[in-house]
């Protein structure tokens, strides 16, 4: 009974926690520009992330190591340090994007320019981590994130054609804007397969003291939770395709995306869009801050934990304090939050091989996962998706930059 409750809680938090600024931005842009044609990228990314999240939980439960600890033990400090730098760089850009998402949500409802919100938002994020516990951060914000189910309701109200949805599941190249299409496909993969999720999840597994008895819970949460979570992203894409694309609106600003729920749901649609954007980004921002503090502390062997009092883990607390305020400065100087988001997501796809390679090695090493080693299916799915994302990224990012995107 306890396990069933844990799975149910995990699934609920996954639905609320799956969506972040990257998922909203890439799905909205994909739907408004290319209709249902990029549904395949979301599905592919979701399948891959299910396998990876399950692996992150499995390694924490079986080996009693966080992912970073296992990497250090197996590959040595030098490799771990390279990985750390790559992860911090990406986390920094993604955190700035998430803060941007919260600021935009506040701008939508108050009219006060997003730049003015950046520092107060950073302070609130910091305060929540400083005062909160891991449970509050993981479950509290994720429960609030259930507001994102409004996109599922809107999808039902809009009655999408199942035949067209089915066609979108097959990868096809468009007649025009091929470079941008590939760039958005890469950004979707980068948004769905977020490396911070794995480090955060495995560290959370250690904070919750998972053991081999949690293998089933972990599998259930990863498979069902992530699938349900991705349904919300799919619905964002579908709503954008049904509402914005027919009118010729191509999302290149969050102001435009904010209109997508007003057609099916009126004024409440507008407010719920802002609420979804704000809460989803807040949840992700908390996770990224913690993730960065986790990995830095794990690399240098400092005391860490979201539920540990700040004075007992001073350096851990210092990392997220400095990190959140530095990231908010990117918004203070007025970088375009949507462009930063799309760029960060595409860049994530570039570093995925570096992030995932050690992961796969560890998941096939009996010393860490014993009899729970990866099967050939999970290895193949992950290798294929990561290779595809990387190849697409190295082609599409230069083309996008040349086109001035």
């Amino acid at each position: 009974m306890k396990k069933i409750l844990q799975i149910a809680l995990g699934i609920l938090t996954s639905i609320g926690g799956f969506l972040d600024v990257g998922a909203i931005a890439t799905s909205a842009e994909a739907g408004s520009m290319f209709g249902f044609h990029l549904l395949w990228a979301l599905i592919l990314g979701t399948i891959c992330v299910i396998f990876l999240v399950e692996m992150a939980g499995r390694i924490a439960a079986v080996s009693k190591h966080t992912l970073m600890d296992a990497v250090r033990e197996h590959f040595g400090f030098r490799f771990q340090f390279i990985l750390l730098c790559a992860e911090i760089g990406i986390d920094f850009l993604v955190l700035a994007s998430e803060i941007g998402g919260i600021c935009i949500a506040l701008q939508l409802v108050t009219g006060v320019d997003f730049q003015w919100w950046a520092l107060p938002v950073a302070f609130c994020i910091w305060l929540l981590i400083w005062k909160g516990t891991f449970g509050l951060i993981e479950n509290g914000v994720a429960f609030l994130g259930l507001v994102s189910l409004v996109f599922v309701i809107a999808t039902f109200k809009l009655h999408p054609s199942l035949t067209k949805l089915g066609a979108g599941l097959l990868p096809t190249l468009p007649q025009q804007d091929t470079a941008h299409y590939l760039f958005i496909a890469v950004s979707i993969l980068g948004a769905v397969i977020s490396p911070y999720l794995f480090y955060f999840y495995s560290s959370g597994g250690r904070e919750d003291k998972w053991d081999e008895g949690y293998i089933g819970v972990n599998r259930g949460v990863a498979a069902v939770g992530m699938s349900f979570g991705s349904v919300v992203s799919l619905c964002v894409l579908i709503v954008a395709a049904l509402v914005l694309q027919p009118k010729g609106i191509q999302v290149d600003s969050y102001q435009q995306a904010a209109l997508m729920l007003t057609q099916p749901l009126g004024y409440w649609g507008f407010l719920l869009f802002a609420a979804t954007l704000g809460i989803a980004c807040l949840g992700a921002a908390l996770e990224i801050c913690l993730d960065t503090a986790y990995i830095v502390s794990q690399v240098f062997g400092w005391n860490w934990g979201a539920s540990v009092r700040p004075k007992e883990a001073a350096r851990f607390s210092l990392v997220y304090t400095v990190f959140v305020f530095l990231a908010s400065l990117l918004m203070v100087i007025g970088l375009d939050p949507l462009k930063l988001t799309l760029f960060s997501m595409a860049l994530t796809a570039v570093i995925l091989p570096l992030e995932i390679f050690p992961f796969l090695i560890l998941m096939n090493d009996e010393r860490y996962v014993g009899k729970y080693r990866n099967g050939w299916i999970s290895n193949s799915v992950v290798i294929f998706t990561i290779a595809l994302a990387f190849v697409l990224a190295i082609f599409s990012i230069p083309l996008e930059l040349i086109a001035g995107g």
């Binding site: 701008q107 939508l108 409802v109 108050t110 009219g111 470079a179 009118k247 010729g248 609106i249 191509q250 290149d252 600003s253 102001q255 435009q256 904010a258 209109l259 007003t262 009126g266 004024y267 649609g269 507008f270 190849v391 190295i394 082609f395 230069p398 083309l399 040349i402 086109a403």
Partner: protein, 138 residues
Amino acid sequence: MRSLSLASLALLLLLNACSSKSSADESQELETITSWVATAQMAGSAWSQGNVPTVYAQQTLSQAQQKLHKETDTLANSSTNSTRLHPILEQLRLLESNVSQMAQAVKQKNYTTMSQHLKQLSTQKQALSTLAKTVGGQ
């Protein structure tokens, strides 16, 4: 061998992207313009129906007007044959002025004026689309 083929493919894509840049740029500008005109139309109509707050409608219409202004300037400066685009640029200036008046109507909470401007915008949008097709066909 495989990396050589990948590099050649990347080079071909880059060369292709560069050679067709100017015409692609023009059509990109027009797409952006159409998108912002549609945004202004949707935001204005959502405001009239009470589906978005006044402050949001005002900001979005101002942003649309700024984008239209910027894209019109870019189009005027980048074009090698400005006489060809002259009718489009004229239409764009009318659109920009209309969107600016819509923002004013929102500020004054004048729903009647907004409704008139929305009708005008719809006509201007159609005219722009026809002009873009005509010019694109030349």
